[in-house]
């Protein structure tokens, strides 16, 4: 079928929903989401949303902006970080006013807690900046925004999966979407399209990300010739539940939890003497892996699947049950451990994609030279870049609101004067292509399991917390081979309706493409910066590498290009905590 809109938003997580609230007044708007909105992974966010409200301690947005830049190892575009920090305060009040049930201080104000890398006075000491609702902050944001969408009659196409875009030169004219319940493919025309499809942690074996986090947005655009930015920077969160990867929020350390090795040493004293357990995530993850490889893990095996302990038992039952109740529940359910009594076994887990679709501060997709008219991106799939080489905790949720809002407003302004979208014959051709492709997939073939596992394994082992030329080369080779044999994969399910299998094949294809971007960009960057840590090039090299990577997919290869970083405010300095 054919649908016509002014604005189409792909994704119903925090970024998509916020943009929808802003844009839906301006023109005919629809949100397309492969999950029911309330199932989006924003709901998994635990620890908090950062804003310099100063409700408990003196704070100001400038410190927040500086921490963001330093935390990102100076690969952050500084103007974008300033906007993030300044508008964060408004964003949090706005969420509260829309009904978000924040935890409260005794005076009834929004409560705040410490989080990694967030400091007072340019690094002097940790500051209470993370606004939270127990350890369910993302759930509350997602629910609150969805409630507001109901209140404001935003229209949704639930369980539609976008599979392609229709372009007219550098202008977007529509998208192709697959409707799960019927198996129909739709051509949806739009003057403006926002990608808000979230992260892609599922390329790694151990991850905190949802099964649906397959990077569809970036992969679709990359296949259409657009570049992706800074794809080598993938954050490993230091504290995932052993083996499962389920996140234990940094909020646990913010409340006073501490990391210990098998000798009972609080090892962060060696690695970050000032901020200790609350150093930025890349540093804590490296510290853990270093401890494990020195045989200081709990088992002492020296292997990277060993673990360390995160202890919160000294906080007592009351704090655990009121401040981190879901964590306590996860630990009881999945580990049989009560964190009020025993420590939690943790290891780094693939968590957050710093890289993604390059945008300006209004969410418009651009690589600095070309601007793609009508095309926008926000949230984890976008790269503004406010996170640089390493995102600080609580800054993603801020980004969803601040940049979701800015994108929504920019789209509303854009569609007023933009010409009517006309996908024309390009649209029909793409629709016909996708009908053929889906039918071809249903002719059967190899199942996805082996290829999926092989990808996750090689990415985890070779492009993980620590990287070397030899390892990354291995990953590039493995991924290239998996992409080459991808054509052998097919679906056993021949049905049109509710064919989950066909969609999961397309998702695997997306992850494989993005794995190639990530590994190729990582191979080229011969320095260590933020989450990209090269054992063979342990130093940050500003002279050569203070620049954003732009990676373009060219059949089975990635072509790399670079773009300057905005360092207009703070001069890059060595990063010590």
């Amino acid at each position: 079928m054919r649908f016509d809109y002014d604005v189409v938003i792909i994704g119903a997580g925090g970024a998509g929903l916020y943009a929808a609230l802003e844009a839906s007044g301006a023109g005919k708007t629809a949100v397309i989401s492969k999950l029911y909105p309330q199932r989006s992974h924003t709901g998994a966010a635990q620890g908090g949303i950062g804003a310099a409200l100063g409700n408990l301690e003196e704070d100001n947005p400038e410190w927040h902006a500086f921490d963001t830049v330093k935390g990102g190892d100076y690969l952050v575009d500084q103007n974008a970080a300033v906007i993030l920090a300044e508008e964060a305060v408004r964003a949090v009040y706005d969420l509260e006013n829309k009904g978000l049930p924040f935890s409260r201080t005794p005076e009834g104000k929004i409560d705040q807690r410490r989080f990694g890398g967030h400091t007072r006075d340019f690094g002097a000491a940790a500051v209470k900046r993370s606004c939270f609702s127990a350890d369910r902050t993302g759930h509350m944001i997602l629910q609150t925004l969805y409630q507001q969408c109901i209140k404001n009659n935003v229209s949704f196409h639930d369980e539609w999966q976008a599979v392609d875009v229709v372009m007219d030169g550098s202008r977007i004219t529509g998208i192709i979407a697959f409707e799960l319940s019927t198996g129909e493919l739709h051509l949806v025309s739009a003057k403006a399209v926002l990608f808000a499809t979230g992260g892609f942690g599922r390329m790694f074996k151990v991850t905190s990300n949802a099964i649906a986090n397959t990077g569809d947005g970036p992969a679709i655009l990359a296949r259409n010739g657009l570049p992706l930015m800074d794809m080598e920077f993938f954050q490993f969160h230091p504290t995932g539940i052993r083996k499962m990867g389920i996140l234990i929020t940094e909020g646990v350390r913010g409340e006073g939890g501490m990391l210990f090795n098998r000798h009972g040493e609080r090892f962060m004293e060696k690695y970050a003497p000032t901020l200790l357990d609350l150093a930025p995530r890349d540093m804590v993850s490296r510290a853990i892996i270093t401890e494990l490889s020195r045989g200081n893990g709990i088992q002492g095996s020296g292997a990277i699947d060993d673990w360390v302990n995160l202890d919160a038992s000294h906080l007592g039952k009351e704090v655990v049950e009121s401040k981190i109740p879901d964590i306590a529940d996860f630990c009881r359910t999945y580990l049989g451990v009560d964190p009020a009594v025993e420590p939690m076994p943790v290891q780094p887990t693939a968590h957050y994609a710093m890289g993604g679709i390059p945008t300006d501060v209004d969410g418009r997709v651009t690589d600095g030279t070309t601007l793609w008219n009508g095309l926008f991106a926000a949230g984890e799939c976008a790269c503004v870049s406010v996170h640089g080489a390493n995102r600080l905790g609580t800054n993603s949720l801020v980004e969803l609101i601040v940049y979701g809002r800015r994108s929504g407003q920019a789209m509303a302004a854009y569609v007023k004067d933009a010409p009517a979208a006309n996908p024309g014959s390009a649209g029909n051709d793409k629709l016909a292509h996708w009908k053929k492709r889906i039918e071809a997939l249903k002719k059967g073939g190899k199942k996805t399991g082996d290829s999926m596992e092989a990808m996750k394994e090689t990415m985890m082992t070779n492009v993980g917390v620590y990287r070397t030329e030899k390892n990354i080369q291995k990953a590039v080779k493995d991924i290239t081979a998996l992409r080459a044999s991808f054509g052998e994969i097919g679906a056993q399910d021949r049905d049109a309706h509710f064919n989950m299998e066909v969609l999961s094949i397309l998702e695997l294809e997306n992850l494989l493409d993005l794995s190639l971007h990530t590994s190729a960009a990582a191979l080229a960057r011969t320095e260590s910066r933020g989450a990209h840590s090269r054992e063979d090039y342990p130093e940050r090299d500003d002279a050569q590498w203070l620049k954003h990577t732009l990676s373009r997919l060219d059949k089975d290869k990635i072509k790399l290009d670079y773009k300057p970083v905005d360092v207009s405010r703070w001069e890059p300095k060595p990063r010590v905590y």
Partner: protein, 240 residues
């Protein structure tokens, strides 16, 4: 260990009745039931239909009946439902929802009832410019339980009242109503009296507690409904 998943399979477009199919899977006792389902679909039978996403109990996608009881497949470990090698674990779709395919159910009516309670803040007063509504920690605590709902539908499946009265809004929608009725910032019953004070709303519940027993978020649903009943009575008597 090896367990046998005995799955209710049904495709309304094709089948006149459901059939059961068994899959033997090799699992760790600490694996999730969801892991076993994913294994089947990725290696053995690509046609098996079920929803999933977060894999740790916070998105509400994979509620189903496991050994007859409503649970999230991702929050149920094999060892919770099977003890020994060769044990059988039965999987069925939720009750009170039309089946779409296998373990997938149609949530449209369930979500329509959620929307029917106007689940959004109707603030008592305009928010302070560039500031927050104050809310005491005690007032915040009143809504804590209700805000945890992930709309998984487990309670709606377990509720025996829906067999008698198919028009009952159901436990989840009432939890959503309670979340706002008890929010100190909201107009509460001034706006929502008509919705909750109804034979198909709070007054349909007669305390079976099945919803409370199955809720994977451990929300004390029945207690919230009873609290609403008392609050509505007081409100109507002018005592609020």
């Amino acid at each position: 260990m090896n367990v046998i998943l005995d799955i209710n399979r049904f495709d309304p477009e094709r089948d006149s009745e459901s059939r059961r199919e068994r899959f033997e899977v090799c699992v760790e006792p600490t694996d999730r039931v969801l892991d076993a389902l994913i294994h089947i679909s990725r290696y053995e039978d690509g046609t098996l239909a079920f929803r999933k996403s977060c894999a740790h109990g916070i998105c509400g996608s994979d509620a189903m009946r496991i050994n007859g009881k409503e649970r999230l497949a991702c929050k149920t470990l094999i060892r919770d439902v099977a003890e020994a090698d060769g044990d059988i674990v039965t999987l069925d779709p939720l009750n009170h929802f039309p089946v779409q395919k296998d373990l997938m159910v149609d949530q449209s009516e369930f979500l329509a009832r959620f929307r029917a309670v106007e689940p959004y803040l109707n603030p008592k007063e305009a928010p302070p410019p560039n500031g927050e509504f104050y809310q005491s920690a005690q007032d915040r605590a009143l809504i804590d339980d209700a805000t945890k709902c992930i709309n998984c539908g487990a309670c709606y499946s377990a509720c025996p009242k829906l067999d008698e009265n198919p028009y009952f809004l159901g436990p989840a929608a009432l939890v959503a109503a309670a979340r706002f009725v008890f929010d100190s910032r909201d107009k509460g019953l001034d706006e929502r009296l008509k919705i909750v004070d109804d034979a198909d709303a709070i007054w349909s519940c007669d305390n079976h507690f099945d919803c409370t027993r199955v809720c994977p978020r451990e929300i004390k649903i029945t207690k919230l409904i009873n609290l609403m009943k008392r609050t509505v009575n007081k409100y109507k008597e002018g005592q609020l």
